[in-house]
């Protein structure tokens, strides 16, 4: 079973796991994800690959603690094993020389855009990075982006670092002051739809990396289906990247919340078992 090499709390509620997975490390490309199950009675969830190290044979994923699975993952210690860490899944993001690229990441998605920023930079683009956090103290990997990006814009909702505006204002500002050829956004559904709506008027090609509910992650179950341009697509094998302007966001919101009550029930049951 794959072993945890490192587990770190980046900021409150957002954790990093680095897992020994040499085959996945060898194959991983920006935009791909892994399916993780924290223990034998756990649920399979998708996590975007945030980094990999081919020499060490490790893969890194960053997640926010929201339910039972992520609670369990956040309690793992180095040396412990996870029964499932499978991938790399999904089609890699299309990395091209587009000119100026805006990479927008929110929350756990800040880590997920990291390989994209690196790849777009390597492909010869001017790369702007927009990171969105709920509050100043939730910002992580600032140095990484400062080192990689041509410009880093921080959007924080507590007004200490980047003003009180939410994501759309920042996106509009950037689009207003320079020509942006491509936008990629990774984060929660709300964040990605906000970015996509902000770029829609200017018609800038905007790719979002969807993270709907999945079970197997290989096309087998269809839980992750999303409507893109009026057609049902599977995020796991057709995506996870899609054109943000063509997604039925309302449907995606509803599907993400399919098990809202059960998620709470599951977490309560686990807490009672774990902390009697």
């Amino acid at each position: 079973m794959p072993r945890i090499v490192r587990r770190e709390r980046l900021v409150p509620n957002i954790h990093l796991i680095e897992v020994e997975a040499p085959e996945i490390a060898r194959k991983a490309r920006p935009g791909q994800f892994v399916i993780v199950m924290p223990d034998a009675r756990g649920e399979r969830i998708p996590l975007t690959i945030a980094d990999w190290d081919r020499e060490r044979g490790t893969v890194t994923a960053v997640f926010m603690v929201v339910g039972t699975t992520t609670r369990k993952l956040a309690l793992l210690e180095p040396g412990e094993a996870v029964p499932i860490f499978a991938g790399p899944l999904g089609r890699p993001s299309k990395i091209e020389r587009a000119g100026t690229v805006l990479c927008a990441g929110g929350c756990f998605g800040i880590a997920a855009i990291h390989p994209l920023v690196r790849a777009f930079k390597e492909a010869g683009n001017r790369v702007l990075v927009l990171v969105d956090v709920k509050a100043d103290y939730l910002l992580y990997w600032r140095e990484r982006f400062e080192a990689l990006a041509d410009e880093l814009v921080i959007s924080s909702r507590d007004g200490l670092t980047g003003g009180t505006d939410f994501v759309p204002r920042h996106v509009r500002d950037i689009l207003g002051r320079e020509t942006v050829d491509r936008v990629v956004a990774v984060g929660c559904t709300y964040f990605m739809s906000s970015v996509a709506e902000a770029t829609r008027p200017a018609g800038v090609k905007t790719t979002v990396s969807l993270n709907p509910i999945m079970v197997d992650g290989t096309g087998m179950c269809g839980a992750c289906r999303v409507t893109v341009d009026g057609e049902a697509r599977f995020a796991c094998v057709d995506g996870p990247d899609f054109d943000g302007h063509k997604i039925d966001w309302a449907e995606l919101y509803a599907r993400r919340k399919s098990f809202f009550d059960d998620e709470i029930k599951s977490l309560c049951a686990w807490e009672e078992e774990r902390f009697p």
Partner: protein
């Protein structure tokens, strides 16, 4: 593709079956009870749990024959000089020989006989559609109308073998030094692995999920195929030296080319029909509308029926509608009932006669209170303010001219639309081949529907050394047909490997 499923026996196999038929013990047994007496014995019914008792849990429905019942059933077999049953079996079990061994009370020998041709007898004894295969061709059925319960006997001997703990390290031929990669630990992959390991090859099975079994573990529910049986079959393969690499997605974790570079000389692709079909009607993405694959995977593989002890949830549903008429639809609807649905409906576009499900499954579903609505199709699902399904609009159908499959095509009846309240829908209208391997394997020839093209005589694909079988080739068939393909492929792979020196030697 043309599999060996319906053809006559090869001359060599026919000769083997005949040689067994002519053995002295068989002659004695035939003499012991005259045919007329044998024909008077009634078929032993499969003992099963009462519908009321079983309808709320996931324990197995069928209980299996006792030893006495099995011997009595075996006595019904007329031991024909020209048995039809063997040719009706996709993996060509020497059925008369194993049945007569049961009659003699030599259950272990009977199990061994079955195993010569079938690596998963406890599975096939439970899930095979015998009534359209071996039992359909049984001469007793032609004579008296009721075939020998071959499937029930297969189940009996394999259960007997497992309960006796026939384990231990099997005697294997010296290793050949050849390495074979099998993609997918489903019925086809497990069969190929077993056959090739018995021939002395080093076999590794690469499986995308975390449990072996493929459709047997994610698709078929516990009440029809207990997981303990699969675990025993996996253990048998491990004792044969088969290595399992779980959570390994061939095509993504490593491609066929990568594995070739690692020294694998032959490949068998048994990746299955893992891509669910939808009807592409409005509302199909509402919350509460599942593909059968998702519904079954949540419940069977992820054990959602034991939520919240297991973390994966599934929506139980109060009024559940399952769309389709096959075995997958029957499994889904019986699960919905077990999870507490007050009403569980089958919505099928043709009539009862055209239903592809096994008769036994339909019968069990009826006993458990499933409602069948024939000649009906959904045309639209209606959601509530939260995007959750609350109703479905349907249309009545009538049967018109036969279509390409020979079944009469359903055509809509004008003005017959109606709306039914539902809060759970499971779409069980079939699957397409999973695209991951075709997409990531350059040069692999794929047919119109995404199935891998093979030569039916050897199951060889367009790539040298790469074979395929089961649903990835057929598009959606049965466990036993997949195993038949696997047997054909294993023989061809063995021949290919033997004709060349072992790697590194």
């Amino acid at each position: 593709m043309s599999g060996p499923d319906r053809d006559e026996l090869s001359p060599s196999l026919a000769a083997e079956v005949l040689a067994e038929f002519e053995k002295d013990w068989r002659k004695e047994l035939r003499r012991a009870i005259p045919v007329k007496e044998r024909m008077k014995i009634g078929r032993r019914p499969m003992p099963q749990r009462a519908p009321g008792e079983r309808g709320r849990d996931f324990e197995e429905v069928n209980l299996g024959l006792s030893a006495e019942e099995a011997v009595a059933e075996a006595k019904r077999c007329l031991d024909c000089a020209r048995p039809g049953c063997v040719a009706g079996c996709p993996v060509r079990i020497d059925i008369p020989t194993f049945v007569k061994l049961v009659e003699k009370g030599e259950f272990a020998a009977a199990a061994a006989k079955v195993r010569e041709a079938n690596s998963l007898p406890a599975v096939c004894g439970r899930v095979c559609p015998q009534e359209t295969q071996c039992e359909e061709r049984c001469n007793l059925r032609r004579g008296s109308g009721v075939a020998v319960g071959i499937g029930n006997l297969e189940r009996f001997v394999s259960d007997h073998e497992r309960q006796r703990g026939a384990g231990g390290r099997p005697i294997l031929p010296p290793p050949t030094g050849h390495k074979v990669a099998v993609v997918g630990a489903g019925p086809a992959g497990m069969t190929v692995a077993g056959e090739l390991a018995r021939s002395g090859h080093r076999v590794t099975i690469f499986e995308a999920l975390h449990e072996a079994g493929g459709v047997l573990v994610y698709g078929i529910p516990e009440f029809r195929l207990p997981k303990a049986i699969l675990v025993a079959e996996v253990d048998t393969l491990k004792r044969l030296g088969v290595e399992f690499r779980m959570n390994f997605i061939v095509g993504l974790t490593a491609t066929i080319e990568d594995l070739q570079a690692e020294g694998y000389e032959a490949f068998f692709i048994g990746s299955g029909a893992g891509l669910p079909n939808f009807m592409k009607i409005p509302g199909e993405n509402l919350v509460g509308v599942y593909s059968a694959n998702e519904y079954l995977t949540r419940v069977n593989l992820m054990r959602a029926y034991d939520f919240p002890r297991y973390d994966t949830p599934v929506f139980p549903g109060r009024r559940a509608a399952v769309i389709g008429g096959g075995n997958v639809a029957m499994d889904s609807v019986r699960i919905a009932k077990r999870l507490g649905a007050e009403q569980a409906l089958i919505i099928y576009r043709r009539s009862r006669a055209e239903m592809p499900a096994r008769i036994e499954e339909i019968h069990h579903a009826e006993e458990e209170g499933i409602e069948f609505h024939f000649l009906t199709v959904p045309t639209r699902y209606v959601g509530d303010a939260h995007g959750r399904v609350k109703a479905m609009e349907c249309q009545r159908m009538e049967l018109g001219e036969p279509d390409a499959s020979g079944r009469r095509r359903p055509v809509p009846v004008p003005g017959s639309e109606f709306t039914a309240e539902v809060d759970l829908v499971v779409v069980a209208i079939g699957q397409s081949p999973n695209p991951l391997i075709p997409q990531t394997t350059p040069g692999l020839k794929v047919g119109q529907w995404g199935t891998i093209d093979v030569d039916g005589a050897t199951m060889a694909t367009s790539l040298p050394g790469v074979y395929a079988g089961g649903d990835i080739v057929r598009g959606g068939a049965t466990v036993i047909l997949a195993m038949g393909d696997a047997r054909t492929a294993a023989a061809a792979i063995d021949e290919r490997l033997r004709s060349k020196p072992a790697a590194g030697s």
